[in-house]
């Protein structure tokens, strides 16, 4: 079972207690009625969907109920760090995908631990 560190409960908890809540650090435009449709679409709909290091919001919904931010590797599904909402982006060295990026199921299975 995947354990996720909740920065509010200060403890590792089971993934079952958490919900994913989308990409983190998306600032709402200051004057949203003044921006163009393209800018609105960029803010509202378009997400980076990065492979490798990605910053996400998570919610400890069956625990303390708080939203927090997490840096996660989408290839290995490893949580690199978690930190409280409102804190600046915790920059981590961009290592690319932590494991050799492969496109086939068989190849990833071969590296399973």
């Amino acid at each position: 079972m995947l354990l996720i560190h909740c920065p509010y409960c200060e403890e590792d908890r089971s993934e079952l207690e958490f919900r994913w809540a989308g990409e983190a650090h998306i600032a709402r435009p200051e004057n949203i009625s003044a921006i163009s449709d393209e800018e609105f679409a960029e803010y509202f709909f378009l997400r980076n969907n990065e492979k490798g290091l990605t910053y996400e919001r998570w919610r400890h919904i069956h625990g303390c109920g708080r939203f927090f931010n997490a840096a996660r590797d989408t290839v290995s599904d490893r949580f690199l760090t978690t930190y409280k909402a409102g804190m600046p982006k915790q920059l981590l060295p961009e290592t690319g995908a932590s494991e050799k990026t492969v496109e086939t199921y068989e190849a990833t299975e071969g590296d399973a631990r």
Binding site: M1, Y8, C9, E10, E11, R13, S14, L16, E17, H62, G63, C64, G65, R66
Partner: protein, 182 residues
């Protein structure tokens, strides 16, 4: 004249357990869901007569009332004796949100040497005494439902669950109790 509505406990008549675990429905209690800012905690604590804990997983008990930390600004306050929680919170004069959830929740008392194992049948938390000592509490999940778990003594827990889920929670704990006795 029509019969008056009778109040029934959602778990009345339920019984279960095994050679190492005892399951009982808890008697009715008054409960509030309390939200408040850090600066209002002191006023609410003195009004309620129990210190609202500010550390994760901590609970406090005094005068028949228990306050359970659920989140950084959220508590579940349970009064088994000395009701009047809503009035007490109101009397504090501090800014807060209190919702009476006495009838939303019911509780199952799980006790015996296999109590932790029975709960772990559906709950992923580490319930060893080192990580979850006496007095520790946490909102978590039991199978498919959300519960609030409180360790009252070394081998006894109080499982707070929404009343409509209590049938499921009791059934799962009964299964867990059987497994814990194997």
């Amino acid at each position: 004249m029509a019969d008056l509505a009778n109040r029934t406990s959602p778990l009345s008549g339920f019984h279960g357990g095994s050679s190492t675990v005892r399951l009982e429905a808890a008697p009715p209690a008054e409960r509030i869901s309390l939200r408040a800012r850090a600066e209002d905690v002191a006023a609410l604590s003195s009004a309620l007569g129990v210190d609202l804990p500010v550390r994760p997983k901590a609970s406090a008990s005094a005068h028949g009332r228990s306050a359970l930390w659920l989140g950084p600004d959220e508590w579940l306050v349970i009064a088994e004796a000395n009701g009047g929680l809503m009035q007490a919170a109101k009397n504090s004069g501090a800014l807060h949100s209190a919702t009476d959830v006495s009838h939303r929740n019911t509780a199952i008392l799980v006790s015996g040497p296999g109590a932790a194992a029975a709960i772990n049948a559906g709950c992923p938390q580490d319930l060893s005494l080192k990580v979850f000592p006496v007095g520790a509490c946490s909102r978590t999940i039991l199978g498919k439902v959300e519960i609030v778990l409180l360790r009252t003594v070394e081998d006894a827990f109080r499982v707070e669950v929404w009343r409509s889920f209590s049938d499921y929670a009791f059934g799962l704990l009964a299964e867990g109790a059987q497994d814990a006795a194997v």
